[in-house]
């Protein structure tokens, strides 16, 4: 059973739909006990970093997530805002402490040209590194996924599994042990996205 963490931010149903389509059982839950005890977690979400961490802290989910992910070493996939929350801190409207599982910060895109569009919306290529090969198996080195975001993850190279070019190279997927993150939406990236979700789940099922 895969648990999709519900902390009242955004579109949980899309992830559940995609997992169901692939034949995996999942539940959407905001219950700390269920989350701490789950075999596999997905942390989706869109919207504000500050609001998200506030919800996670107020509902007692931070302890539950730490228990499941850090103590029990259960695999977790953060998607979009969910990936950003893995960082040490966010910088939207001042500094907000994140889950602090992957050292790094989340920053707004800054371009010298003020006319470059934000948010970064649409399909763009992810270039998977050697470290991202388990995930991208059967997909090739450069694959299109759907993005919609204005902030991006900044961290040491050793955590980076994929990069994308939007007027600058930015980190589009990360990994540290059992913790993975994707800035794009695999659940909205058609066949490539479904394949990637499947790879994530299978890799971790085999290692569980």
């Amino acid at each position: 059973m895969i648990t999709i963490v519900d902390y009242k931010m955004g579109n949980l149903r899309s992830v559940r739909n995609a997992l169901g389509f692939l034949g995996y059982e999942s539940r959407v839950s905001g219950n700390p006990d269920e989350i701490a005890d789950s075999k596999m977690l997905i942390l989706p979400g869109v919207g504000s970093f500050r609001e998200a961490m506030k919800n996670i802290r107020e509902t007692g989910l931070e302890e539950a997530l730490n228990e499941g992910v850090l103590n029990k070493k259960r695999p977790i996939l953060g998607i979009c805002l969910g990936m950003q929350l893995l960082a040490s801190e966010g910088t939207e409207d001042g500094i907000t402490k994140g889950l602090n599982w992957i050292p790094g910060t989340v920053q707004k895109f800054r371009f010298d040209d003020p006319w470059i569009r934000l948010p970064h919306v649409g399909f763009n290529a992810v270039h998977f590194k050697e470290t991202g090969r388990n995930l991208s198996e059967g997909l090739g080195e450069s694959v299109d996924f759907y993005f919609v975001h204005s902030y991006h993850f900044v961290c040491e190279d050793k955590y980076v599994t994929g990069e994308t070019d939007y007027h600058q190279l930015f980190v589009s997927s990360v990994k540290r042990n059992n913790i993975c993150g994707m800035q794009f939406h695999p659940e909205k990236s058609q066949c490539n996205g479904l394949k990637l979700l499947k790879n994530f789940i299978n890799t971790h099922l085999n290692h569980a």
């Binding site: 579109n11 869109v46 399909f123 759907y146 204005s150 939007y166 909205k188 990236s189």
Partner: protein, 255 residues
Amino acid sequence: MGLAKRIIPCLDVDAGRVVKGINFINIRDAGDPVEIAQRYDEQGADELAFLDITASSDARDTLIHVVEEVASQVFIPLTVGGGIRQMTDIRRLLNAGADKVSINTAAVFNPDFVNQASEHFGSQCIVVAIDAKQTQIDPPRWEVFTHGGRKRTGLDALEWAHNMVKRGAGELLLTSMDRDGTRNGFDLTLTRTLSEAVNVPVIASGGVGNLQHLVDGILLGKADAVLAASIFHFGEYTIQQAKAAMAAQGIEVRL
């Protein structure tokens, strides 16, 4: 490659059926929304837009079910618009599986609604739809219209676009009411003028009759995405053909 330009087929939905009108009248049945959505997904559409043109409020629940059903079969972004007035309307659609909502009339009546919606749900899911009609030739001026092009608001479309971006719109869906349904191509002057005036993505809409119109919307209109309905609904062109035509003229698309 970099960020691909998007092709977005639009499904106008009335009481659970896809329809298409000419200048918003003479509505013609084009089929079942779930089947059509699946067909466009298979053809490689980058996103889908649903516009609810149902007049009565009880029939609105039909659209929620359509969105639920499409979202369980089709794994590309879905934008839903039409009749969105309150925060609860947005919440319901997002819960049903929509990724973005497009707000039109409600923004005109109450611009603060756009602030509230983008603060609460995030700018990335708030698309503001602007229906513009040219009201002056020289210098060109376009005004915002509501109610499917019937009501004039007196608002200048460019000023309105700036206002909406400032209030948190993540994208603008620009429809030329002069061109919509005519198949004569986008209003390229309007599209380019507005695209060059804002720094959020602009989706061009209204008037597509052939594949070159889509190309022109990107190359001459400077749009980030192109939206079309009838050229795809009746099987005249496929999304692949549209993408091939765009790629052949140097536009980055997802193939």
